[in-house]
């Protein structure tokens, strides 16, 4: 029986259906559905995990909102509880859980690491490193810390593993890249065009930043992935779950809006219409460099897993 049906049955039976309270029948149904007992989790431990998840996210609702039983069931139904209990079983050191995890995810983990690094050797090293980390060889404050504990069932466990691998790889790449001399140094910008003064350039930079900042998050994400990361429309569309045409249309709309905003900001900065138009014809390399710095100023050193805090 599906958890949602169980919750509905529980509500219809009027058994502990108070808002905000964990329904025992719902918990038991979920516990059996995800075979938590196979990984050594008792129903009490399972209920505690569910309570932690629900408390951390308030059943996916806004703060202060009390979830009904139906909302609770919907929230848990949206989670990958089977993967979550397996991860918790592995984190707790359950042998059966590890055997199952290794048999199911070991090879996909290596393939994902090879795909991410683009190298068989680097990929295997990356997978082995993460595997050791998952096994809990690292300790923090004298206690074994398993990254699997940070997995809370939102999204698949395999996706979580892939994303974790990608994080490790990107962080490693960006860290080691900083230690190497830059091979590709941006060529110094040419002398400003006579018609574009330094004042106009500063105004233009300010206007661009303002215009970009005023764009909605999705439009800025589109601009960054398309113009800075060089991703294709198809890749962006897959990431957002929309059609390519939608991405293209949104990109066109975003660039048009930014251009209008830049012109408006320039005029507001004291330039007349014609001077603002001329300022837009300035050397774009100046603006590109600034925009990259603006959008890619991510601090990898300060990266901390929220779950690890």
């Amino acid at each position: 029986m599906a958890p949602t049906e169980s919750a509905a049955n529980a509500m219809s039976a009027g058994i502990d259906a108070r808002p905000g309270a964990m329904n025992r029948i719902l918990v038991e149904e979920l516990w059996r559905a995800c075979e938590a007992s196979s990984w050594g989790l008792s129903d009490d431990e399972f209920e505690q995990i569910l309570v932690d998840l629900a408390t951390a996210q308030n059943f996916g609702l806004a703060e202060g909102v009390v979830a009904t039983l139906h909302q609770q069931a919907a929230f848990f139904h949206g989670l990958c509880l089977a993967d979550m209990v397996l991860a918790r079983g592995c984190a707790s050191g359950n042998e059966r859980a590890w055997e199952h995890f290794v048999g199911k995810y070991r090879q996909p983990l290596i393939r994902a690491a090879v795909a991410i690094t683009g190298s068989e050797t680097l990929g295997r090293d990356l997978a082995d490193q993460l595997y050791a980390e998952l096994y809990g060889l690292t300790e923090r404050d004298g206690a074994r810390r398993c990254p699997l504990l940070s997995y809370r069932g939102r999204g698949s466990l395999m996706g979580w593993l892939r994303t974790t691998l990608a994080q490790r790889h990107v962080d490693h790449y960006r860290r080691t890249r900083r230690e190497e001399p830059l091979e590709e140094v941006d060529a110094p910008a040419d002398d400003p065009a006579p018609q574009t003064t330094a004042h106009e350039l500063s105004l233009l930079e300010l206007a661009v930043k303002e215009a970009v900042a005023k764009q909605p998050a999705e439009e800025r994400y589109l601009l960054a992935t398309y113009y800075l990361d060089g991703q294709t429309l198809k890749q962006i569309a897959q990431a957002l779950g929309v059609h390519e045409a939608t991405v293209s249309r949104k990109l066109q709309r975003a660039t048009g809006a930014i251009r209008k905003l830049v012109l408006k900001n320039l005029e507001r900065g004291g330039l007349d219409r014609r001077a603002a138009q001329d300022a837009l014809g300035a050397d774009p390399r100046d603006l590109d460099v600034n925009l990259k710095k603006l959008l890619q100023n991510s601090q990898t050193e300060a990266f901390q897993e929220q779950a690890a805090r």
């Binding site: 994902a112 795909a115 999204g155 892939r162 994303t163 990608a166 962080d171 890619q296 929220q306």
Partner: protein, 418 residues
């Protein structure tokens, strides 16, 4: 303010964890969390890169899973392959065999048609005139051929009887013993203005496929083909019976040239005589033969030119030739007659038994009076009406002198005034 806003978004200290990024990529976030993730991703190249790499790895995994079923055991693969194609083999083989047979038949028909058309085009240029073939009624009365090759099988064809036509052995390869020793034929000249038109020449004629041009008389008959007749002739030629006659009967209209000389059929060939004949353009022997010979113009008929290419023992070229079987007769410019019984290999001069100067030699069907009676068996096998077999041996040779007097001969050596 704007700069502060950009800094506020760019100077983030924390990145979304792997679960949130993965949930974003798998579209598992709520709307509010999704907006937060987008807000961060818009300014964080690192997290965008993480999401992109994770997605690429997922696509690689999907591709690997898709390729996995293809890597089954070879035995299973072979069995599956065979099972898949076994059903297709039979109809494929049938279709292929049908296609091959169709192409073969088509090519054969095209080849036959081209051969027929080529023969039909060459024959009028080499032909002599409508007077060379008697009307069917005369041919029906003609004597049986002395040669034992009257093609009785063709005569027994019920289709031939019904159509009033004599089947033709059209596909027989043609032997041109002399042509190899001669220079290549020049391209056939464009038909000059016809000397005369014989609209009433709808008498019977015959067509021999591939009769050698050098065997023809210098007098030529040019068939002006009409489109309708050509088409019909092609169609009939495909069916094995050629209905279009090229040469009209001697007794046809007054426009019939006297000097026209027939095409000698081969010893084993039979010809078709039909009642539907195309219109013919004819030229007299004088106009086409002598005139052409003396002027050697480029427009003279090809038969005359072919005749002129034969060098006779007297040192002169032939101006008129005719043949029957292996007998070849030729007249030179001086009017001397030569005979060859080995198809032009050796020539003997025939003692002159006529008056005047011979200007034309031709072949005519043997008169009924001179023909031997047909055996009863052949008479029974003969078509009832309108058709007759013309055998090479059922012909006589005729000589025309410069006074239009005619002598005839059975063997080309002994001549009798007609």
């Amino acid at each position: 303010m704007a700069i502060d806003a950009m800094k506020a978004t760019s100077q983030h200290e924390f990145h979304p964890d792997a679960e949130r990024l993965n949930a974003f990529a798998e579209l598992a976030l709520g709307q509010s969390e999704r907006n937060e993730a987008l807000e961060h991703l818009a300014v964080c190249g690192r997290c965008r890169q993480v999401v992109a790499l994770a997605r690429e790895a997922a696509e690689a995994e999907v591709a690997a899973e898709g390729a996995a079923p293809a890597s089954r055991s070879p035995v299973i693969q072979a069995s599956a392959w065979w099972k898949q194609w076994r059903v297709v083999w039979v109809p494929t083989a049938v279709v292929a065999a049908f296609a091959v047979a169709s192409v073969s038949i088509y090519l054969r028909q095209v080849e036959q048609r081209e051969t027929t058309i080529r023969m039909a085009k060459l024959a009028p240029n080499r032909g002599t005139g409508p007077a060379s073939v008697p009307p069917p009624s005369e041919q029906a009365k003609a004597e049986p051929p002395a040669s034992p090759a009257p093609a009785p099988a063709a005569a027994k064809s019920p289709k031939a009887r019904n159509s009033g036509a004599i089947p033709v052995e059209r596909q027989r390869p043609y032997q041109e013993p002399l042509i190899d020793r001669l220079q290549p034929l020049p391209p056939p000249p464009q038909p000059a203005a016809p000397v005369s038109l014989a609209p009433g020449l709808a008498g019977e004629g015959f067509l021999r496929g591939g009769a050698p041009a050098i065997y023809q008389s210098s007098a030529s008959a040019q068939w002006r083909p009409e489109k309708k007749e050509q088409d019909r002739e092609k169609q009939q030629a495909e069916n094995g019976v050629l209905h279009g006659s090229l040469f009209g009967p001697k007794a046809a209209p007054p426009a019939t040239p006297r000097g026209a000389i027939s095409i000698p059929p081969a010893a084993t060939e039979s010809v078709v005589v039909t009642t539907a004949a195309p219109e013919l353009e004819t030229q007299t022997a004088e106009s086409a033969g002598f005139g052409a010979l003396e002027s050697a113009s480029a427009s003279r008929p090809i038969a005359a030119r072919m005749a002129s290419m034969i060098r006779l023992p007297g040192g002169q070229n032939a101006v008129s030739t005719t043949s029957s079987g292996k007998i070849l007769l030729a007249i030179d410019q001086a009017g001397a007659l030569y005979i060859s019984q080995d198809q032009g290999g050796t020539w003997d001069r025939v003692i002159q038994q006529w008056t005047g100067r011979a200007v034309l030699v031709r072949r005519q069907p043997m008169p009924p009076t001179a023909a031997a009676p047909l055996p009863e068996a052949e008479l029974e096998a003969k078509p009832a009406s309108g058709t007759s077999e013309v055998s090479p041996s059922a012909t006589i040779f005729e000589i025309v002198n410069d006074k239009n007097q005619v002598w005839w001969s059975n063997d080309g050596r002994i001549w009798t005034p007609k």
